[in-house]
Assembly symmetry: C2
Homo-oligomer: 347 residues x 2
C-alpha cells in the first residue's frame, strides 16, 4: 500500500490466511470437536439464562483460535490426541475458551459495544447485568475445569494470565483518551489484554506433555508474540476493515477514544493542526460527521496503518523464531501458518 493510497484497507501479507486456520482446524478436528462438546456441556446450569447468554457468545461462531492453540501446542509437544486417549488438552482448551469468553462478555459491557462478531452483543441483547454475571460464571467454571484437571502448574499459569488480562484492561481504561500515551504503554496494554492469554494457552501444552522448561518458554514466546501481532492487526482493522468481513463496526476504537498504535503513529507524525484533530476527537471526545474518514486519511498520509501491520509482522517473525525450538513436523508448520493467518487478516 502506498502511503497516499485512498483505499481504506491495509496492505501487507499475501492471501492464504484463512486456509491456514482451516488447515489447523482440520489437523485437530477430533480434538476440537471434543472441546466444543465439553464447552457446551460445562456451560450448562439449572439457571436457564446462563446457557442462553453463554450460547450466544460461546457456542455460536468465533474462530476458537485460543483453544486451537492449546490443542496444537499440546500435540506439538507429543501429548496424545483424542483418538489416542488424550483428554486433558481438550479440558484445558475449553478453560482457555471460557476465560476468553468471560473477558469478551465483560469487555462488551465496559466498551458498551452493540456488535460482536457481526451480531448483536450479549449486553445489547440480554443487558449488562447478565453479561457481567455470566462472565463471572464462565470464569469460575474455567477454574473448576482446571481444578478437576489437577495440575497446580496449569492453574498457576492461567490464574496469573487472568490477573494480567484484567490489569491490561484497566491500563487500557487509564490510557483511553490520552494522546500522550507512549508506544511502550500501548504495548503493555496489549501484552496484558490479549497476549497474556495467547501465551498461557500455548504454554500449558508443554506442561501437559511434561516437556522441559525451555519448550514451555518457547511456546510462551510463540503465543505472546502471536497475540501481540494479532492485536496490532486488529487495531489496524478497526480503521480499515470491510465491516461485513470483520464482523465488527469499523471505527469502534475511534468512537471510544481508544489509543491504539495507528493513532499513536499518526499523532507522532502529524503537525500541530493534526494533533489538534486527535485531541479534539479522542481526548475531548468531540466527534463530528466525517471525523472517522479524516482519521483514516491522516493515518494513510503518515503510513500509520501500514507501519502497524509492519510491526505485527515483526512480532509474527518472533513467533516463528520461537517455533524453531521444535523439530519440523506438520503441527509445527500448521502453527507457523497461523502466524500468517493472524497477519493476513489485514490484507
Amino acid at each position: 500500500m502506498s502511503v497516499t493510497a485512498p483505499a481504506p484497507r491495509v496492505a501487507g501479507a499475501p492471501s492464504g490466511g484463512e486456509d491456514a486456520l482451516a488447515a489447523l482446524t482440520a489437523l485437530l478436528r477430533p480434538d476440537l470437536e471434543a472441546c466444543n462438546r465439553l464447552i457446551v456441556e460445562r456451560m450448562q446450569s439449572p439457571v436457564a439464562l446462563i446457557p442462553q447468554v453463554a450460547a450466544h457468545i460461546v457456542a455460536a461462531g468465533g474462530k476458537r483460535l485460543r483453544p486451537l492453540l492449546t490443542l496444537a501446542a499440546s500435540r506439538l509437544c507429543g501429548y496424545p490426541g483424542t483418538e489416542a486417549g488424550g483428554t486433558r488438552h481438550v479440558a484445558l482448551a475449553a478453560c482457555v475458551e471460557f476465560i476468553h469468553t468471560a473477558t469478551l462478555l465483560h469487555d462488551d459491557v465496559v466498551d458498551e459495544s452493540a456488535l460482536r462478531r457481526g451480531r448483536a452483543s450479549a449486553n445489547a441483547l440480554f443487558g449488562n447485568k447478565p453479561s457481567v454475571l455470566v462472565g463471572d460464571f464462565l470464569f469460575a467454571r474455567a477454574f473448576q475445569l482446571m481444578t478437576d484437571d489437577g495440575s497446580l502448574e496449569v492453574l498457576s499459569i492461567l490464574a496469573r494470565a487472568s490477573a494480567t488480562i484484567a490489569e491490561g484492561e484497566v491500563l487500557q481504561l487509564v490510557t483511553a483518551n490520552d494522546t500522550a500515551t507512549t508506544e511502550a504503554q500501548y504495548l503493555e496494554v496489549i501484552d496484558g489484554k490479549t497476549a497474556a492469554l495467547f501465551a498461557a494457552a500455548t504454554r500449558v501444552g508443554a506442561v501437559l506433555a511434561e516437556r522441559p522448561a525451555a519448550e514451555a518458554e518457547a511456546l510462551d514466546r510463540y503465543g505472546r508474540s502471536l497475540g501481540v501481532a494479532f492485536q496490532l492487526v486488529d487495531d489496524a482493522l478497526d480503521y480499515s476493515a470491510v465491516e461485513a468481513e470483520l464482523g465488527k463496526t469499523v471505527g469502534d476504537d475511534f468512537r471510544e477514544g481508544k489509543i491504539t498504535l495507528p493513532v499513536l503513529l499518526a499523532f507522532e507524525r502529524g503537525d500541530e493542526s493534526e494533533r489538534g484533530f486527535w485531541r479534539r476527537t479522542l481526548e475531548a471526545q468531540e466527534q463530528r460527521e466525517g471525523d472517522l474518514g479524516q482519521a483514516i486519511a491522516l493515518m494513510q498520509r503518515h503510513g500509520a496503518l501500514a507501519d502497524t501491520v509492519r510491526r505485527a509482522r515483526h512480532y509474527g517473525d518472533e513467533a516463528l523464531e520461537a517455533l524453531r525450538a521444535f523439530p519440523d513436523a506438520p503441527m509445527r508448520r500448521a502453527m507457523a501458518d497461523i502466524v500468517e493467518f493472524c497477519i493476513a487478516r489485514a490484507r
Copy 2:
C-alpha cells in the same frame, strides 16, 4: 414486635450481637491482622487504579466477617494460629475476602447502587468499567493465592462456590420483578448468592487442618445456615433499618424490584388490592412517593418482617446445631455467638 406495631424496625434478638463480633475479632487478632496485611499486599498492581479501586472497597471498612469465619473454622479444627506458625488459614481468609469483594464490585454495577457501607460505591466513584475489571482482577488474584497454597481440595471448594454465587446472582435477576416467585426459589437465590461463600469459607478450615469429612460437612452446614440467616436479616433490614447504622439505603431492594422473603410473605398474605400494589410497584416498577412507606406498613400488618427474622432464627439454630460436632471451647462459643450477631442486627 406486635404485628400492628408502627415502628419500622424489626424486633427479635436481644442485643449483644456487636459484642460477639468484637469477641471473635479479639480472639483472632494476630491472624486477622496478618490477613489484612496480606490483602493489602496482594491487591497491589503496577496499574495504580487497581489498588485505588480495591482499597476503596477492600481496605476501608467492612466487618471482614467471611475471612474471620475462615480463620475461626481453621482454628476450631486445630490449625495453628499465626503465632504458632500457621499461615495457610491467613492466605485462604484473604482469598475468601477477595472473592467476596469481587462479587460486591460486580453487584453494585448490576444493581446500579450508589452507596455501599454508607459511602459512595466504587461504581459511583470510579464508574462501572473499573468496577467490573477490578472485580475480575481480585477474582483472579484469589485463584493465584489458592494456587500458591497448593490444595486442590480448597481450590475445588472455592471454584465451585464462585460458580454457585454467579448462578444465585443470575437467578436473582430472573426472579426480580416477579411476584410469582416461590419461597423455594428465593431460598435458592440466597443459598447461591450468599450462603455458598459462607459455607466454603468455613469448610476450608477443616480441609486445612486435615480433619475428617464429617467435620468439613459440619462446618459447611454451619456456614451455609449462617449465610442464609445473615441474608434473611439483611432482606428484613432493607425495609426496617436505620440508614446510618446499616450503611445502606433503606428501600434499595424495593426500588430495584427485588423479590425478597418479606415481600413474598406480605404478597401471599395480602388481599387482591394489596397484591395489586405489589404488582404495580415491583413488577411494573411504577413507584410513587409514599410507596415505600406503604410497603413497610403492609409488611407490618402481615408480620412479614418479624416472620422473616423468625426464619433467620431457625437457620441460626441449624448453624448452632452443626457446631455440636466440635467439643466445647472458646472458639466454638465465639462462633456460636456470631450466629447471634448475624440475627441481632435486626434489633
